[in-house]
């Protein structure tokens, strides 16, 4: 099982001009504490929407790699997005899903992945061409290294340790938006 804060530090060290959009879960805090950057878009409360935001970004900016930093609970709320992403097949999308088998941010209630559901199998069934299941930091590193180079869409299913996360302290939604858009020269 992977320690997400360690893996997030590895990812942060590899990032150059890629865009990262997070779910509303704890992964956004690990990403931010691993190295805050202008091209990170932190999601305050749009349940399930990380994958759809990522698809929209990938469509609007095909020249940039877009990384979705998602969680099991968040993806389970928007499973249809798997089919839509696979159908649209954005080559520049990397969908990283942190699976701790629980709704950690609301007190650790179990999600369906604590029982019989396999999100990687669902992504494969939806039609993602590149699906990796990783359970160690080394496997995560290797999958990320490939995904940053090879065309996707990628689905990297990360089995992680359940570990407390220190959260809070995000900037306001509009501050996050303006910083992100300014960094990539985007205007409405």
């Amino acid at each position: 099982m992977i320690d997400r804060s360690e893996a997030s530090k590895y990812l942060a060290g590899k990032l150059k001009d890629e865009l990262v959009v997070t779910s509303l879960g704890n992964e956004k805090y690990d990403l931010r504490s691993s190295g805050d950057r202008e091209r990170n878009f932190y999601n305050w409360n749009a349940m399930g929407m990380a994958s759809s935001l990522g698809l929209g970004l990938a469509m609007a900016r095909p020249e940039l790699k877009v990384i979705v930093y998602d969680g099991d609970g968040s993806l389970l709320m928007n499973l249809g997005a798997l089919a839509t992403i696979a159908m649209r097949e954005p080559k520049n999308l990397i969908h990283i899903v942190w699976d701790n088998r629980s709704y950690a941010i609301t007190g650790g209630q179990p999600t369906a992945t604590a029982f019989r559901t396999d999100l990687g199998a669902m992504a494969r069934g939806a039609g993602y061409p590149k699906v990796e299941r990783v359970e160690t930091l080394a496997a995560f590193q290797s999958a990320v290294d490939r995904a940053l180079i090879e065309p996707g869409p990628w689905f990297i299913h990360c089995l992680m340790k359940d570990k407390p996360v220190k959260g809070g302290g995000l900037p306001s939604p509009t501050a996050i938006k303006h910083r992100f858009m300014d960094a990539i020269g985007a205007r409405h």
Partner: protein
């Protein structure tokens, strides 16, 4: 120009490229006009909430998209509208094919159709009901202008007065 041709010509004028949709009969009329005019990318969705996330993502990237769906779909999408388009101030035009209103045959469409305006009003979402072909261009253009000016969601309602109601058998 037909009402649907007016809508898509205004979308093109405002550089809207992405048509993200969950279909219904009125939406298909708009998509057909868009295919005729060319220059759009249409993306079918599994659920309307997805579409709000996708429009917001397109917008954050500097692209312009719209969400097209029937009234029932607004209900499916509402937390994304509130938590993304409103909270982050992201332009999100929503073109809604009205069901559950004048001439409706399907009992299960009525509650949502009748609540649509109140839902939009409760969230302070500017909304514009188009009822006549000769006002379609102006209403669509005006709605897009306030959408990009206010950087938030705006609803354009394609009514049965404008586009007709769906034929179907009422209850036995």
């Amino acid at each position: 120009m037909s009402w649907a041709e007016s809508i898509v010509s205004v979308l093109k004028k405002y550089n809207v490229r992405f048509l993200n949709y969950v279909p219904d009969a009125k939406i298909e009329t708009i998509l057909a006009a868009a295919r005729q005019l060319g220059g759009f990318e249409a993306l079918p969705l599994t659920r309307e909430e997805e579409g709000i996330g996708i429009v917001c993502g397109q917008s954050l990237g500097g692209g312009r998209g719209v969400m097209l769906c029937p009234t029932a779909g607004l209900g499916n999408s509402i937390n994304a509208v509130a938590a993304l388009a409103i909270a982050y101030r992201i332009p999100c035009p929503i073109i809604i094919g009205v069901r559950g209103d004048l001439g409706e045959f399907n009992p299960a469409q009525v509650a949502m159709g009748q609540a649509t305006q109140d839902i939009l009003d409760a969230l302070r979402i500017p909304s514009y009901r188009i009822t006549r072909e000769d006002e379609t261009e102006k209403m669509t253009e005006g709605a897009l202008r306030i959408c990009y000016a206010s950087e938030g969601p705006v609803a354009i309602l394609v009514t049965n007065e404008l586009a007709g109601w769906k034929e179907g058998k009422t209850k036995s």
